[in-house]
Amino acid sequence: TTRSPWFMGLHDDFGAWPDAEFGDGVIIGFVDTGIWPERASFNDAGLSPVRSTWRGKCVDVPGFNASLCNNKLVGAKSFVTVELEAGGLLTDPSPRDIAGHGTHVASTAAGSEVPSADLFQFAGGRASGVARMARIAMYRACNRGCFTSDVVAAIDAAVTDGVDLLSMSIAYPVEPFYNDLLSVATFGAERRGVFVVLAGGNKGPTAPTVSNVAPWVTTVGAATTDRVFPATLTLGNGVVLTGQSLYNIPFSQSQGAGMIPLVRTSCGEYDLTPDKVMGKVVVCSQDAGASAGFDVERAGGAGIISVDNTERFWDTVMAQPFPLPGLLLSSAGGKKLADYMSSVAYPVASFNFTCDTVTGENRAPMVAGFSSRGPNPIVPEILKPDVIAPGVNILAAWSGAASPSHSEMDPRRVEYNILSGTSMACPHVAGVAALIKKRHGDWTPAMIRSALMTTAGPLDKDGRDIVDSSSAIGAVVMGATPLAAGAGLVLPRLAMDPGLVYDAGTQDYVDFLCTLNYTVEQMRMFVPELSKCARTIPGGVANLNYPSFVVVFDGRTRVRTLTRTLTLVSARPESYNVTVAAPDGVKVTVTPATLEFRWPKEKRSYSVQFSSEAEAKARPAGTWEFGHIAWENRKHRVRSPVAFKW
């Protein structure tokens, strides 16, 4: 990836990268669409052989030679089921990525350094995975979709092979944990010490939509970076609208087109006929994607304007690699365009493509409108997503078998492509987790998650609240709540040295499931040896030792008390004082208010009493408000988001 690792604060010469030796030797397993091993991001220059305990390998099958693997790509297997037209099933034995997605996420997390990468000259620059010296093991289980049976086989193989981390950019609408085999399988991975990170889903901004919500996995939402690809549209009335585009033409051509008639269509397959669109710029009434550009081109259209007319966007749009002049407008821009088109009989407009990549000027990070939102649909007391990471307009390596637009009509092939989604955010966190794993090899998955969460940033690069791109249309924006951003943007430098962590292990998750009143039969899906639930979590599931808090005032209860236990992970004794932020009408009392830690790994517990005062009763049921609890000293700040539900 270009830009995003540096946007997260990583630096080649100091901080998390050199401190963690760029994740050298840590093995990240990916369950995805496979890999295109010839990409430069998977070169193994400077990498030593994989550790001797590694049990994985690269398969040697038609279309995928085992010799394509090296000290970077240390494993590649396939578990993709193909349904035959004649009936029956086959497993496609090749881990070669014909879709592009797996290549993209693997290079994002652990791609090697590449001196120069771009897509049509956009987003160009030096590329690096977040943990550029970590190793990649790809378990192909996805084609157009990913069958559960294949995904579980892939996870089973990855953990058997000995991966340290699992990154899975896949999702399905949530189900109770006992009915969700991804939850069952990842529980098994966690039991074996494997850190699992999953995409939170792209069903935002409505709530609750977040997927992959088990407390033993880390759930990631998507945010923008400080990079845009602006292109402008000048309307016949002189109004200039700015959108984004990855359409690249010579500067001279971009200046000479002049005003072109506009025509509005749905951009559906049967709506793009030559008699309607020939010689005109087609305004799609919804985000039709870059592939619609080929339909427009085939019908003789002169250009395409894609408008996202939903609340999914404010001014954060996903750039598209249109094959003809085109851009994507935000819903705000789309409204101005619509107003103009309805005000004149013959609307016209002209494009201006500067083909620029602009960095550092837009407000960032901003939670992407598409990023799925909490609250947690299964256990509201566990806040999800956990964190956000860059997931909009991410450039990373791409399959040689797929076009950049995903369209079969698109003849273009590229080495790098720009994609958006929580799929792209997930491997950023996997990369940071690999850095932490390298530095702290004995940490549990929960400790790694705690480090990621308690050091995450709730502020943007200019020190203002991180904004939710779906919060407003127009100039008024609102801060992203923890239901959208979790604890905030992952900050690797701080996550390497969190000071304190909230740890949890298998027994804690067993107690958690028992507290959910799971039957013995349901419990045995997770823990076959269990004879009965020996205990539950005192005070309920909200008391799981999780790095965030959810406080539910259900109308009858005015006081909630939650407890947590912190573990010192610094080498020296430290003292911490608590600071609290809470909504009006909520009194928060932390006991004790100071925690003294004398030696590494020492644990200290505290309780927090949340009291809803009289005026708080006026809140409508179902309302959410937010605050935080932070343990601080001169060196560390261990911050937990708190969500209050009325």
Partner: protein, 80 residues
Amino acid sequence: HPSTSHTYIVLANHLAKPSKFDTLERWYASMAGKNSNRIRYTYGTVMHGFAARLTDGEAQRMATVPGVSSVYKDRVYHTQ
């Protein structure tokens, strides 16, 4: 295979394996019976069980076999 068959994932409690089977794979094969050639995967690290092509009726009967914790019909996750 019968056209009505689907892939089902059979979650088994490996600790309940009868001693007459010396491996889990043989136990699973016995569960699948004449369908044992339809077993597509066996799982043995993060969970125990197998995936096989079964009809809906076979899947329902499979759920009643001693040692079977649950039977799930395959579904599709999507990249994000």
